[in-house]
Symmetry: C2
Subunit: 208 residues, 2 copies
């Protein structure tokens, strides 16, 4: 393993929850640095945070819950990113395009997080996984709303189901993102060409 990290100073009494956030940071950092979820072990996380492995169990019941908490933070981040990307774009069709581009960028910037969030085993998620409550749902809800606005504005056909249409967009951009991550050695064209093609095809295919 890597040479032992600097030992972390013990938190003051009453500040025990500080380590909670530091463990999440450490796990996130490890995931990005190693690029390999298999190397994000309880021991490695503890080492990266400068504490001993058992300390983790003061803050998380088990490893799975910790990793899911890391994922949840990312879901919240993707929502923020998509909303920001569409800010100030008046044309609702162009706003959808911006979200699509932002989605692919987001995923490719954090391939290992993306892998855990959306390409991993369902068993990686806690049993209480409730799609209606996780932060990522607000990203989806916001996206459905964006599709609805495009329909209302006449940019997309009025007979479209906004949920199915939103999932169609999602599947398209998730498809690009996840294929690029899963098969990096494939002779892909430039990412921009793929994303532009996908945006164009979706918008043409859905317009009145």
């Amino acid at each position: 393993m890597t040479p032992a990290e600097v030992k972390r100073a013990r938190a003051r009494r009453g500040d025990g929850q500080l380590l909670h956030a530091e463990l999440l940071d450490a796990a996130e950092r490890l995931l990005i640095e190693t690029g390999d979820p298999d190397r994000v072990s309880v021991r490695a996380i503890a080492d990266a945070a400068g504490v001993s492995p058992p300390s983790i169990y003061l803050h998380f019941p088990d490893k799975e819950t910790l990793l899911f908490a890391v994922s949840a933070r990312q879901f919240a981040a993707i929502d923020a990113r998509l909303e920001r990307s569409a800010e100030g774009i008046a044309d609702p069709a162009e706003a959808l395009r911006a979200r699509g581009r932002a989605y692919v960028c987001f995923g490719l910037e954090r391939p290992e997080h993306y892998r855990i969030l959306l390409m991993g085993k369902a068993t990686n998620k806690p049993e209480s996984f409730d799609p209606e409550q996780i932060p990522g749902s607000s990203a989806f809800t916001n996206f459905v709303a964006a599709v609805q606005r495009a329909i209302d504005a006449g940019a997309l056909r009025a007979d479209l189901d906004p949920v199915v249409t939103a999932i169609g967009f999602w599947a398209t951009f998730h498809g690009i993102t996840s294929l690029l991550i899963a098969i990096p050695d494939f002779p892909w064209p430039e990412v921009d060409r793929l994303v532009d093609h996908a945006c164009e095809t979706q918008l043409r295919g859905l317009r009145p």
Copy 2:
């Protein structure tokens, strides 16, 4: 682990290669039955094939190569499946639609294989991974050819790049397949609705 399998009779002299295929079968069976790649260990494969773990090393240099061989058979199978699905369909646009549907069905019928093939880590593939040589490439090549025929027939715009367009189709159907596999608990609409919507949107978006 499961109760030990019936012990396999030793192959006759000269028939050593029989176990090669039996190990691939056993690994494939395990993958489907357990639905969990983590449980497809060398020991479990050997047990399922009715031999001892070291026997595997008479036929494969390591576990990774064995699992890749399992995947390669699946790539060959998907090619055959897609070609068969489009057989006898004269309209090239409808043929593309048939391939899309068949693709999603294929993936959902074998979620664990699909996961390893197209949602797994790149490191699961041997170092000599050459996209031009693996069986899956012929599936892709055949699909590009199908897109080209649709362009030639005037069903898709003449200014489209057939490779980018094929990848666009692939990403769309891969997106649906992989999201359904990765997040089974999400409140998805019926698969057929998603696939129909995606087919319709692609064909509308690409037609002249």
